[in-house]
Amino acid sequence: MSEHPTSPDRTDPDPGERRILTPGSPNPRREFLRSAALFTATAGALGGGLELLTRRPGGPGAAEAQGAAFTRPARPLGPYDTSEAVTPYAQATSYNNFYEFGLDKGDPARLAGSLKTRPWTVRIDGEVRKPMTVDIDTLQGWFPLEDRVYRMRCVEGWSMVMPWLGFPLAALIRRLEPTSKAKYVQFTALLDPKQFPGQRQAVLKWPYVEGLRLDEALHPLAFMAVGLDGRVLPGQNGAPLRLAVPWKYGFKSIKSVVRITLTEKQPQTTWALAAPQEYGFYANVNPAVPHPRWSQATERRIGELGRRKTLPFNGYAEQVAGLYNGMDLRRYF
């Protein structure tokens, strides 16, 4: 643009829209073409540049994750299921926070192919009578698999309805035979930057660690998922084994678990370490306690345009509020 001749009286801001009518102009047609080319180039450069700079991948949803189906008969909804419409599988598997793969919500679906979920072992240790390392297939074979249709509320203000398949955490914990010293359950996710490209950056303190108080972990709602929508859990959703605690913000439900440790002390959990003033150990869904930077009063259910009111404990107050009797939930957020 700088080489384009300008006259001092020209105020037209757009070189592309200019008609150059200099008297000495030899060929009006050439000038017109030149203007048209300049116009297109300017529009294209600015528009393309802005698009490149500001576009964030949203994508039409990842290709259907190719999980093998669990074959089980259909069953009526149980006491812990929601009858709300289940989030379409394509969306539940393409819009994920899983920083081990990357910060963008499309990264997990795009990169989950690098996660090898077999063989996979889970280390069980800490305040248990028989510490052991167990293969995932053996571990999930210990329990009959159940469906649980749970609401899931992300701390960012969106929610989904997830049809998990798995077993109650309480069943696992009882089988582990905790000692009398066990007060908390600590979960650790896989640490392997080869499989988790997001771990090559110190965005969070890796490996990801989460935890529950023992009574929370023993609550019948606390669930270990190995499947989603009748299929093997896709990598982006935390294969092969993840936690689902539906009354807490999504980040508590740790993915790709490799270690379960019963502890006497409250575990140092990843997000509480990263920003203690914003993400607490409890992280119970609470519309009355705003995140310091945004309200938690409403949420967007994925697939809907508007927002709906967020319910205390994500709608599970009747079942879990008793766990927090006498606690100031503004302090223990």
Binding site: S2, A43, L46, G48, E51, G58, R293
Partner: protein, 196 residues
């Protein structure tokens, strides 16, 4: 220029029509219009430093278009926010008063309004060039608040907001550095003067 600047809207609408906006289309449209506002504000503010550094005149001629495009995207960003909250003004007021994240963004938008209104040559004449220039220095306040708004809106990775902040700071420093030697000696404040 204008057509190019509006191209992202066209792409956004096309994406929306064909279901390409992903699982959370409102969130994506909000983020993109916000980023477009910030990027265009930075571009419009880069015009003067660019002219100062290179002596080119064309940046000065496209500055206004960039600024107005930025305002357009800010308004669109705000409209999407209002739509997202069901046009509930009491919710909006609560957000503005209680959430610094929203306060910063909303203030930035408010600051852009007088700038957009005084973008005509007539307004420059009416205000007088000096006062018009001083008024339009608000763009720096607005863009800084915009970058802060972006920073606060991000849950964890602050790389992008910090890049914007660094560019804004750089542009501001170029102006300051370029302005200082141009002052006539009589006009510079004596070194002994109390800091204000």
């Amino acid at each position: 220029m204008t057509v190019g600047g509006l191209l992202p809207v066209a792409v956004l609408l096309l994406d929306a029509a064909t279901g390409q906006l992903g699982a959370n289309p409102i969130q994506r449209a909000t983020l993109q219009t916000g980023l477009l506002t910030l990027a265009l504000l930075v571009l419009s503010l880069a015009c003067t430093p660019l002219r100062l550094l290179t002596g080119w005149t064309w940046p000065a001629r496209i500055r206004k278009t960039l600024g107005l495009l930025a305002f357009g995207y800010a308004a669109l960003h705000f409209l999407i926010y209002l739509f997202d909250h069901g046009f509930d003004l009491s919710l909006m007021t609560e957000d503005v008063l209680e959430r610094p994240f929203i306060t910063a963004g909303f203030t930035a938008l408010l600051l852009l309004v007088p700038l957009a209104l005084t973008s005509t040559p007539r307004a420059v004449k009416r205000l007088g060039f000096q006062r018009w220039t001083r008024l339009h220095q608000l763009a720096y306040v607005a863009v800084s608040l915009g970058a802060l708004h972006y920073y606060w809106g991000v849950k964890k990775d602050h790389t992008q907001p910090l890049i914007y902040a660094a560019v804004i700071a750089g542009l501001f420093l170029i102006r300051l550095a370029r302005r200082a030697p141009n002052r006539r000696p009589g006009r510079t404040r004596p070194r002994t003067a109390a800091p204000d």
